[in-house]
């Protein structure tokens, strides 16, 4: 490890309603791989976006190579020598590898672009990295792993001194990861400063020299990787005080009937052999990090995505669910994490939204919509769920997040769903309204509904769930009764090394 090349001190960033970064500090040395860890929403990406000029900080200082810097755009950060290899690759698939690497700074002969020397330069870069990629290959023809190598080559060609990798291994195969690590070690030996964001605990141990942990927008601390254990890191990641009282034990009677049984569900890469049961009146929490396969499991169960294999039993009877229509008929309702895209029709009123899933029950004279009946049932729901609105004719876009969520709940209650899947039920909902959504969920299970709740918020999981399932990389890695669950245990299962 060399001298410090980059210091971030007291970085503060507030978005409307969220204090995303609260006096965060971190430094990077030449010739080190520095891991940045933390739960989803801890502020890692925001910090890196501030560093690379995508966001502007509200307070704090960034010192790079001994001088204070303030980047107004990614371009400025790039030319100073700080580049980021994004998780979602920013590539122009129709252009060749070399054309991508040199985009915006093509060597030219007069008016014509000198593709030949571009290809040569790119070939040199790849030779330096010890990778075999033909610079003339069209970018879209490469595997994700190779595309990432091209991004790294691009970073080096910018004469970068600090390279940030944002979850680089998420989409790679094991061989590609090995190759990536070889390159990263090589870059480290050549005195680059490297920031490595990842959730994979085994990788942190394999590749990084130091690790900085963030939680809730603050830095918790920095450790030397060789001197700490996985438990140390996890403890730092989750070691918060939970203010809301977690459930101490399940409220579901032991003899409550099983309403849903899922056996060996497989769907693509993200859902691998997932089995679980749901009892009447139970809130079953699904915990895990982003990309663990929870939403994908819910979507496959709901018929929104195709299943590869697996059986679903409702009230002990096997059901075939091939589309959301089948799922709704079987009594399942899904409340998407992306409410505005998949949950409500923003520019329609509460009435129209509420009966959307079972409009066939509200027609008269053959095909005309029975407005009267529609309004009646909607009004009943608005009263029952205490939706705050001047009337059922109000457009959904004018409601607050919490009240929009209630409209989605109303939609599924009206269509007689017995099983409700809440995917991130309180995302984008303010604290007061959160409380109301929790109360609503508790009331629903008391009335005999059953709930699957997907949540990335640990306090929410521990407060609401009767039982908790943890997923990691498409697999179910643990199941706890709430009485035995702790933050550490859950995080441990969520970041488990996958032995392949």
């Amino acid at each position: 490890m060399g001298e410090i090349i980059l210091t971030m001190e007291g970085i503060d960033k507030t978005f409307p309603g969220v204090h995303a970064l609260d006096k965060v500090s971190m430094d990077v040395r030449r010739g080190e791989v520095h891991a940045l860890m933390g739960e989803n929403g801890a502020g890692k990406s925001t910090l890196m976006k501030v560093l690379t000029g995508i966001y502007q900080k509200d307070a704090g200082t960034i010192v790079f190579e001994g001088r204070e810097v303030r980047f107004a755009s990614p371009r400025e950060a790039q030319s100073a020598g700080i580049v980021i290899v994004h998780q979602e690759l920013n590539m122009m698939g129709h252009l060749t590898v070399a054309q991508n690497i040199f985009i915006g700074r093509e060597p030219r002969h007069g008016l014509l672009i000198d593709d030949a020397s571009m290809n040569e330069e790119a070939a040199k870069l790849f030779a330096q990295l010890g990778i075999e990629i033909d610079p003339r290959e069209t970018m879209s023809q490469l595997t994700v792993g190779k595309q990432q190598m091209c991004e790294i080559a691009k970073a080096i060609s910018h004469e970068a001194k600090v390279i940030v990798f944002d979850e680089p291994s998420a989409a790679l195969t094991d061989t590609e990861i090995d190759q990536l690590f070889r390159i990263i070690r090589d870059l480290r030996d050549r005195q680059y400063g490297i920031v490595y964001i990842s959730h994979r605990m085994d990788e942190i141990k394999r590749i990084t020299d130091r690790v900085t942990v963030m939680r809730d927008g603050q830095t918790v601390g920095t450790l030397v990787t060789a001197e700490c254990t996985k438990d140390d890191i996890i403890h730092m990641m989750v070691g918060r005080v939970i203010f809301e009282e977690p459930k101490t034990q399940s409220r579901v009677p032991a003899d409550a009937p099983v309403v849903l049984r899922v056996e060996h569900l497989n769907a693509g890469r993200m859902v691998r052999d997932v089995s679980f049961t749901l009892r009447k009146g139970e809130i079953l929490g699904f915990s895990g990090l982003m990309g663990a396969g929870r939403t994908e499991t819910a979507r496959a169960l709901f018929g929104a995505d195709a299943k590869d294999s697996g059986d679903i039993y409702i009230d002990g009877e096997k059901v075939n669910i091939h589309s959301p229509k089948d799922a709704v008929r079987a009594g399942i309702g899904y409340l998407s994490e992306d409410r505005k895209r998949y949950g409500v029709v923003l520019k329609k009123n509460i009435c129209e939204n509420s009966t959307l899933a079972c409009l066939q029950n509200y027609v008269k004279h053959g095909s005309l919509i029975d407005g009267e009946a529609e309004r009646k049932v909607t009004q009943r729901m608005v009263d029952a769920l205490k939706t705050k609105t001047p009337g059922v004719d109000q457009l959904v876009m004018n409601l607050s997040g919490g009240n929009q969520q209630k409209v989605v709940v109303a939609k599924w209650l009206i269509s007689n769903s017995k099983i409700l899947i809440f995917d991130e039920p309180t995302r984008g909902i303010d604290v007061g309204a959160k409380q109301e959504i929790y109360e609503l969920m508790n009331r629903l299970v008391q009335e005999g509904k059953s709930i699957i709740m997907i949540s990335s918020e640990m306090p929410e999981i521990l407060r609401m769930s009767d039982r908790i399932i943890v997923m990691c990389e498409g697999k179910k890695t643990a199941e706890f009764d709430v009485s035995t669950a702790t933050q550490e245990k859950i995080m441990n299962a969520a970041t488990r090394e996958i032995a392949v």
Binding site: S73, P74, R75, Q78, N90, M91, M92, G93, H94, L95, Q99, I103, G104, E106, R108, L111, L112, I113, D114, D115, A116, N119, R136
Partner: protein, 325 residues
């Protein structure tokens, strides 16, 4: 491709283009065998005349298409610009050189107008150019008081402009315009593949955000795509004026569809990011061949439309299938 490794002819020309060449040869042979009237030299000259202005529009519109946009204003634009050119010569007595410059200049101006609205105001290209299409349709009539456009006829002063496309020696007409077209195909292929304009226009169609993150002034190059399209609409206006004896104000709607159709048959994707000028050339050849050949075997205009539409669907389906692989 400078310095690239050796490619087979198949790879260099591209499968889709080879298919079109094959279809062209088969259709041409078929029309020749079936129809005695098609076999005549004059038929080929008629076909070439139709091709000139369609080809020019098509070369230009390939650029907005590659950005993932479209330019619908070139058809009515062409008529508007050539009528204004005619007005300058006949009513104001200006020399033909000025008329030609204004005709092309108007094309560039409206191309720039389209480009600014699309690139700076972020309006959908379809809507933007649809509006421009209506604006120029009305504008041509207003500027010239609804006069029919006429460009210099044989024997009149300035008629040399017609000779640029069809040169007559004795009784024989030579389609010399094809030389100009082939030259422009070559030049614009180089522009598309070996200059920054072309490279960034492809990049815009491929991934505009990535280009922006690379620090490129995206709006500037995005506007250029429409300027090129407008410039070629201006050239097409001259070719159109030299092909017909008179130009009626307010017409021209629909001409752009042949050009866009040709580009798409030639492998330019409506989704942006890929396309070639040679492909566009071949696509327009195919459309022109159908347009000339079908009446000669007794199929009327309506059938041409149906067949052209069908071919477009087939071409796009093949293209999509290839892309999904």
């Amino acid at each position: 491709m400078t310095g690239s490794k050796k490619k087979t002819i198949l790879q260099a020309v591209g499968v889709q283009r080879l298919v079109i060449i094959g279809v062209l040869v088969i259709l041409f042979t078929f029309f020749c065998l079936v129809s005695a009237s098609f076999r005549k030299y004059t038929t080929l000259i008629t076909m070439a005349s139709y091709m000139y202005y369609t080809m020019l529009m098509a070369i230009g519109v390939t650029f907005p298409l590659i950005t993932g946009g479209v330019d619908l204003s070139i058809g009515t634009g062409l008529v508007c610009y050539s009528i204004v050119g005619s007005y300058l010569m006949r009513q104001m007595g200006l020399p033909i050189g000025v008329a030609m410059a204004v005709t092309v200049g108007m094309g560039i101006l409206f191309g720039f107008f389209n480009g600014v609205i699309v690139a700076k105001l972020d309006l959908p290209p379809f809507i933007t150019t649809l509006c421009t299409m209506m604006i120029v349709r009305g504008l041509g009539s207003i500027l010239t008081n609804g006069m029919t456009g006429v460009w210099p006829m044989a024997g009149q002063e300035g008629s040399w402009v017609r000779d640029l496309l069809r040169y007559k020696i004795g009784d024989v007409t030579y389609p010399v315009g094809m030389v100009i077209i082939l030259f422009l195909v070559l030049v614009m292929s180089v522009v598309l593949n070996h200059t920054r304009v072309g490279r960034y226009i492809i990049a815009i169609g491929s991934n505009k955000e990535a280009l922006k993150l690379s620090g490129v002034n995206v709006a500037r190059w995005h506007i250029m795509a429409y300027v090129i399209s407008g410039f070629f609409a201006g050239l097409a206006a001259i070719a159109y004026a030299c092909t017909f004896t008179s130009i009626t104000p307010g017409t021209g709607a629909g001409l752009e569809l042949d050009a866009i159709g040709g580009a798409i048959i030639g492998g330019t994707a409506m989704t942006g990011g890929s396309g070639s000028i040679v492909g566009t050339f071949l696509g327009v050849c195919l459309i022109s061949l159908l347009k000339t050949g079908l009446p000669n075997i007794g199929l009327q205009a309506n059938w041409q439309q149906i067949i052209t539409g069908g071919i477009l669907i087939v071409a796009v389906t093949i293209d999509m299938a290839r892309r999904r692989k």
